[in-house]
Symmetry: C2
Subunit: 377 residues, 2 copies
């Protein structure tokens, strides 16, 4: 018997929430950070290594997988979990965001989006119905509605269309999702840019339709952090307490703490993986740039108190050498280091909320970042 999607809220500490999502492929402890597995792989990581960092769930990108290798092919091969050797929960996005940022010749209508593949120029159509169909072919545990994500700053009419289209498509996704196998979840996405009123309208309308979870999209798209946090202050209280709240595409470690403090339960972001590939480590001491020559002769690991072997068992001098020499192992180690740090941060927040000391954890963690990196020996 496959478990169905459910969300249990264990505890609140201020506005911060401790919970647990059940899915057909297992449990997700919240607040949760989802590593990005764009093309059915978290770049530079073996799946069991991703798991070992503490990740309960990964995100895969519908846009990339619909172009290559194709959702029908993945379905015929037994679904995405089997394909990428990740038997744990998977959330797929709807493809909308990447169509806007990657595809050429895109054209939006009420019906959906047509676009040209950035790989081979083939024309595709992505409608709300097809977005759901693809995600069900992939076998996602958590499916996202197709939405229109507007870049900021945006005009009034752009914001208005983003909200209108996203709500219309939300309803069509809901109907299309009625064919889903039992236990899967569909999340709606709040849009509205940096406009409080539109955000409220979007959130209230989605809640009235009823979804398994609620995402806040269209943030971390160019606006300052204080604008993002103001929107969270407005929107999160409008979302049902008994459903997970997911802030899409966010963010820095500081963003994560501040968003959890405002009632967010789920996150995804390319920062830990992408920055790792570019020589930047996240740590208790704040960001550390391994390209910097000060590491060249430093025999100490990045953080000898870490539970992550990549963080603890290789010297800064070696990491610096690998990054300078553009060696794959540098990207592999720093990706592992960053995902482990992100998961350590989430785990720290969960433990703190459980103990009713989230505010103290938030302050201690920020003090650690503010002190900066340990000085050279």
């Amino acid at each position: 018997m496959v478990p169905a999607f459910s969300f249990r809220l264990h505890r609140r500490d201020g506005v911060a929430r401790l919970g647990e999502i059940e899915t057909p492929h297992g449990r997700v402890r919240t607040p949760a950070f989802m590593p990005i597995g764009t093309q059915a792989t978290v770049k530079g990581m073996y799946p069991d290594e991703v798991r070992a960092t503490g990740a309960d769930i990964v995100l895969a990108n519908t846009y990339h997988l619909m172009l290559r290798p194709g959702p029908e092919r993945i379905a015929a091969l037994g679904g995405l979990h089997k394909f990428m050797n990740w038997p744990h929960p998977i959330l797929t996005d709807s493809g909308g965001f990447q169509v806007m940022s990657l595809a050429a010749l895109r054209k939006i209508s009420d019906e959906g989006v047509t676009f040209r593949s950035h790989l081979d120029g083939t024309m595709y159509e992505l409608t709300p119905e097809r977005a759901i169909e693809i995600q069900l072919l992939l076998g996602a545990d958590i499916v996202m509605q197709l939405d229109e994500c507007v870049k900021l700053p945006a005009t009034e009419s752009e914001l208005a269309r983003g909200v209108r289209l996203s709500l219309a498509w939300a309803e069509r996704c809901r109907r299309a999702f009625e064919r889903a196998p039992p236990g899967r979840a569909l999340f709606g996405i709040v849009q509205g840019g940096d406009d409080d009123k539109r955000r409220q309208q979007s959130a209230r309308s989605l809640v009235a339709m009823g979804f398994d979870g609620y995402a806040i999209g269209g943030l971390a798209v160019g606006e300052p952090q204080d604008v993002m946090l103001r929107i969270l202050d407005e929107v999160a209280p409008l979302l049902p307490e008994r459903a997970p709240h997911y802030l899409m595409g966010v963010g820095t470690p500081d963003d994560l703490i501040e968003a959890v403090a405002r009632g967010i339960d789920m996150f995804d972001c390319v920062l830990p993986t992408r920055n790792g590939r570019h020589g930047l480590a996240f740590s208790r001491f704040g960001p550390v740039n391994l390209k910097n020559a000060r590491h060249a002769d430093d025999p100490r690991p990045l953080d000898d108190a870490s539970a992550c072997p990549a963080t603890r068992d290789y010297s800064r001098a070696y990491l610096h050498h690998l990054v300078k020499a553009n060696e794959m192992l540098g990207a592999m180690l720093l990706t592992a280091i960053n995902l482990a740090y992100y998961q350590e941060l989430m785990s720290g927040m969960r433990t703190a909320i459980a103990a009713g000391r989230f505010e103290a954890f938030r302050a201690e963690t920020k003090e650690g970042w503010a002190r900066g990196d340990i000085p050279p020996p």
Copy 2:
């Protein structure tokens, strides 16, 4: 008490030899294949993963490490074993081969080689004495003499100079190596191109000087396999039975079997790692090109009878997808698959020699390759 270098010959089966090298960092079972860790990392592999494929020893490149991060720096950081987190045996080459193939403005004299770094244009000098000094700074268990490796086809005077310089430098390396810490080994290198007489002269002169082991260099540099095997037939019988015989820079799985059949004990080659990064797998079925579209829908692993998780736990369809999408995990998995196959082949040869059935193993293995890949489902 650190064990000193030694070689024990356990058994002969025809001309094939089963043995064991002891080094300050542990044991090497022979015949042995050494993965290449050019810049202090086997590209795309964690060190413990390299070990798990069955590798007893890796090769690191003096040329690359002398340019970046520099041997004095590695020595100050505790040596190459610690730097690259590989506590097992390491052999370093002398740098001569890469100077010839990579560096610009190289100039050879009796004294040594001067060249311009391919990284930043700095001028360097590599003499026999400096080549030994660098390898001892790195902390190599097995140190190679500086030699001149001549590309084939070569003129008479090029071949003559290669032998003359290599022998003169062998003697200077021997003297410089007298300062080595106890237990390390120095190998001489036979040169002479495709000229049997010069090869014999080179081998006899080196044996008269006396080295811990003997390498055959200047092969697999453009000549057909039968020329290489003819040289092995000439040279290997001239080498002391009680020392390891190392064929440098070789080769394909077939080269390895044919060379072991001629009394070779050690090999290194970029083929399994480099080809892995380019989508080519070595297997019991011969080479398999994962770029080929016939794998796109194939749910079967590369070889479900393999002991290697990378070979057994991922579908051909997924490997094909990763290679086409240029994902790091594709290069990681195929490098692991290839190193595991090379080690499986060496292990198979060792077991066969121990059982006195090397000829049968050689025939069975070649039959497997000749049958080709398993047909699509």
